[in-house]
C-alpha cells in the first residue's frame, strides 16, 4: 500500500463501516421518507377512503363497459394544464377537442370502490408523433358519476408518489434521489452485515436496560437483521421496477431501434397492430368480449375478476381490446390477457403462460406493488416498513448519541444539526401526515384546488417541525437531549385523536359506527391513529422522565463542582 497516496482503509470492514456511517447518515433522511410513506402506501386506498368521504363504499368489480365505462370515456378530455404543458412540443395550434384516441384503459383491484380511468390522445403536429396527451378521471363504477379531481387521494395520490419520488417531478429529480438512496440502502445492508460480525449469535439481542448507546445499537441491529430480506428485496425491487423507465432507459435511448424492431415483430406475431390503420371502424360489444375472456379463464381453472381493461387505437380498424385478469390470489399484478378485434369482437389471441424470466419479473414487481388479497401479508408488510424506519431512526439517534458529548467538548455543532434533522424526519413526518389529515377534515368540501391546500398543510407542517427542532436543539451542542423529541411526540399525541374526532364530526362516521358496519378502511385508520396517539404519549412521558433525570444529574454535577 502506498502511504500518503490517498485516504485508504486499513481493511474491507473499516471501509464498509465508513460507508455505512456516512452514506447512511446523508441518505438516511430520504430513506426514512421512502420507508415510512411506503409503509403507509400499503393501505393507500384505505387512506383515500378516509380522505374522500364520498368514496366510502364497498369495493366494486369492473363495471359494464357499455353502460358505465363507454359514456365516461367519451366524456373525458385532457386537462387545460396538460394541454398547455405540451404546447412547446407541438408544431402548429393545439386542437380544441381530442378525438384521435390512442388508448382508453381502466384498472381496478379488490380494494377499489372508485375506478381510475386513463386515456391517451394523439396530438396532430406533435414533434414526437409517439408522444400522447394524457387524461385521467375517477368515477363511481356504480353509476359513472365523475369525482371532482380537486379531491386529492391522499393515500394513492400523495403518500404513494412521495415514497418513490418525493413528489419532486422537476426533471425527475425526486426519482433520482430516491433511486440513489435505494442503492445506498442496499450498500448499507451489505456493509451492515460485514460490520456486524455476530449476525446470528446476536439475532435476539436487545438490552434496553444497558447504556443508551448500547441499547440503541441493539435495536438498530435487531430491526435491521430480522427483516433483512424484506429491506433488501424492497430496495432492490423498487430499483428494478423503475430501472428501464428512469434509471437506465436504454430501451428508449441507446437501443431504441432494438425496441422498435421488437414491437414490429410482436405486432406481427401476436396479431395486435402496433399503429393505427387510418381507417375508421366501429366498436363491437365489449361486455361480450369481457364475458368471453372470463369464460376462458374459468376453462383454464383460474376463474377471476377483470383487473385491467385496455382499448387500443379506439375508433380505428386496427383497434383491439385487451382484457386482463386481476392477480388477486397471487403475486403477479395482472395476467392471462385475452385480446379481441375491436370492430368485430373476434378473438385475436389468448396470452400463453409467461416465460421463466417473465415469471420472475412478475414476481418481483408484484411482491413490491401488492395488488393481491392477503390482509395478513399486508400488515406484515407494514411491520417490515416500520421496522425499516426504526432501523434508520435508531441509526440516526446512534450517530448523535455517539458524538454528542465529544462534539460538546469540541464546540462542534455537528451532532446538533443531525439531531434536529432527525427530529424533523422521525417525528416531523408524523406531525406532517396528521396535519394533512386534520386539514383534510377542516377544509370546506367545495374549496377549489382543495388538494393543493392539503399539500401545503403537509409541507408547511413539516417545515414548522424542522424549524421547531432546530430552535430547540441548543442542548445537543452541550451534550444533552433535544427537548423537541418530547414536544413533537406530544404534538402527535394530540393531533392523532383530533383527526379521529374531526372525522366523526365532519362525516358522522365515528368508530362505533364504522366498526359496527365492518367498514374497515375508515375504522382501521381511526384505530391506527388512536394507537399512534397512545404510543406517542407514552414515548413523550418517558422522554420527559429521562430529561428530568438528566437535568437532575447535570444539576448535581454543578453542585458537586461547586462543593
Amino acid at each position: 500500500m502506498r502511504q500518503g497516496e490517498s485516504i485508504v482503509f486499513q481493511s474491507f470492514r473499516q471501509a464498509m463501516a465508513w460507508l455505512h456511517t456516512w452514506f447512511g447518515l446523508v441518505l438516511g433522511f430520504v430513506l426514512m421518507a421512502a420507508f415510512f410513506f411506503g409503509a403507509l402506501s400499503v393501505f393507500d386506498r384505505e387512506i383515500d377512503r378516509w380522505a374522500i368521504p364520498s368514496s366510502r363504499f364497498e369495493p366494486q368489480p369492473m363495471p359494464s363497459f357499455e353502460k358505465v365505462l363507454r359514456p365516461a370515456f367519451e366524456r373525458m378530455q385532457p386537462l387545460p394544464a396538460s394541454i398547455e404543458a405540451m404546447r412547446p412540443r407541438v408544431d402548429g395550434p393545439m386542437p380544441a377537442h381530442y378525438d384521435s384516441i390512442a388508448y382508453w384503459s381502466a384498472y381496478t383491484t379488490h380494494r377499489d370502490p372508485v375506478l381510475a380511468l386513463y386515456a391517451g390522445y394523439q396530438v396532430p403536429g406533435a414533434k414526437n408523433p409517439e408522444e400522447l396527451l394524457l387524461a385521467e378521471a375517477t368515477i363511481d363504477p356504480r353509476d359513472g358519476r365523475v369525482l371532482p379531481n380537486d379531491q386529492l387521494k391522499i393515500g394513492s395520490g400523495f403518500f404513494y408518489p412521495l415514497h418513490y419520488s418525493l413528489t419532486l417531478d422537476w426533471k425527475n429529480l425526486g426519482f433520482w434521489i430516491v433511486g440513489f438512496s435505494a442503492l445506498v440502502m442496499l450498500a448499507a445492508l451489505v456493509s451492515g452485515v460485514v460490520m456486524h460480525r455476530k449476525l446470528f449469535r446476536e439475532l435476539f439481542t436487545f438490552r434496553p436496560g444497558k447504556a443508551r448507546l448500547r441499547s440503541v445499537l441493539d435495536l438498530h441491529n435487531l430491526t435491521g437483521v430480522v427483516a433483512l430480506p424484506f429491506h433488501f428485496f424492497f430496495a432492490f425491487t423498487g430499483l428494478v421496477i423503475f430501472a428501464s423507465t428512469y434509471y437506465f432507459p436504454i430501451g428508449h435511448t441507446q437501443l431504441h431501434e432494438l425496441h422498435e424492431l421488437h414491437e414490429k415483430h410482436e405486432a406481427q406475431e401476436l396479431g395486435l397492430p402496433h399503429g393505427r390503420a387510418g381507417v375508421p371502424a366501429g366498436l363491437a360489444n365489449v361486455d361480450a368480449m369481457v364475458a368471453q375472456a372470463q369464460r376462458r379463464w374459468e376453462a383454464r381453472g383460474m376463474a377471476g375478476d377483470v383487473g385491467f381493461l385496455v382499448l387500443q387505437h379506439v375508433g380505428d380498424a386496427n383497434g383491439y381490446v385487451s382484457v386482463y385478469r386481476a392477480g388477486t390470489d397471487r403475486i403477479a399484478l395482472v395476467g392471462q390477457g385475452v385480446h379481441f378485434k375491436a370492430s368485430t369482437g373476434q378473438l385475436l389471441r389468448e396470452d400463453p403462460p409467461t416465460t421463466a424470466v417473465g415469471r420472475v419479473s412478475e414476481f418481483l414487481t408484484g411482491l413490491h406493488l401488492q395488488h393481491f388479497r392477503h390482509w395478513l401479508l399486508r400488515w406484515l408488510y407494514v411491520f417490515g416498513g416500520l421496522a425499516g424506519c426504526a432501523c434508520i431512526a435508531t441509526g440516526l439517534v446512534f450517530f448523535v448519541e455517539k458524538r454528542k458529548r465529544q462534539h460538546a467538548r469540541q464546540g462542534s455543532q455537528g451532532a446538533r444539526v443531525v439531531d434536529a434533522l432527525a427530529v424533523a424526519t422521525v417525528a416531523g413526518m408524523g406531525v406532517a401526515v396528521l396535519c394533512m389529515l386534520v386539514a383534510n377534515r377542516l377544509l370546506p368540501e367545495a374549496l377549489p384546488a382543495r388538494g393543493d391546500w392539503e399539500r401545503h398543510a403537509f409541507w408547511g407542517a413539516w417545515l414548522l417541525s424542522l424549524l421547531h427542532a432546530a430552535w430547540r436543539s441548543g442542548p445537543v451542542a452541550r451534550g444533552l437531549p433535544n427537548p423537541a423529541w418530547r414536544e413533537q411526540a406530544w404534538a402527535i399525541a394530540v393531533l392523532a385523536p383530533l383527526a379521529v374526532l374531526l372525522n366523526w364530526i365532519t362525516t358522522g362516521d365515528h368508530l362505533l359506527r364504522t366498526l359496527g358496519a365492518g367498514y374497515w378502511p375508515v375504522a382501521g385508520l381511526d384505530l391506527a391513529l388512536l394507537v399512534v396517539a397512545v404510543i406517542a404519549a407514552a414515548s413523550a412521558r418517558r422522554l420527559g422522565r429521562r430529561a428530568g433525570a438528566c437535568s437532575r444529574d447535570a444539576a448535581e454535577d454543578v453542585e458537586a463542582a461547586h462543593a
Binding site: M1, R2, Q3, G4, E5, S6, I7, V8, F9, F12, A15, M16, W18, L19, F180, L183, L186, A187, V190, S191, F236, L239, V240, A243, S244, F248, I250, G251, Q254, L255, E257, L258, H259, E260, L261, H262, E266, T355, V357, G358, V360, S361, L364
Partner: protein
Amino acid sequence: MSRNPAIARPVRQRRLQFAARLAAAILGGYAFTWGFIAAAMAVLFKAGMEFHDAEFLASALGLLLFLALFLYIVASRRRPAMIWLALLGGGALLAAAASLLQASVA
C-alpha cells in the same frame, strides 16, 4: 519515496483523491453499469429472448453489479485515476458492443 513521512502529501490532496474515488464509485459505476445492461440486453435479445424479458434480466443483474462495484471501489486501494479509466473505458466498450449488435440486427 512515498514511504518517507517528511514528504507525505498534503491533507487537502488526499481528501480530493478520496472524493475522486467516491465519485468514481457513483458516477463511474453508473457508466459501467449502463454499458453492462446495454450489452446484456443486446446479447440476450440476439440470442432469442423476448425484448422486455431481456431488459428486465439485464437491469436486475446490472443493479446487483452496480452494488458490488460501489462497495468494491469504496474499499479499493487503487489510484482513483485507474478506477475511472477502468469504469469509463469498460462501460464505453460494453456500450459500443451493444450498439454494434443492434446495428447487426435492426
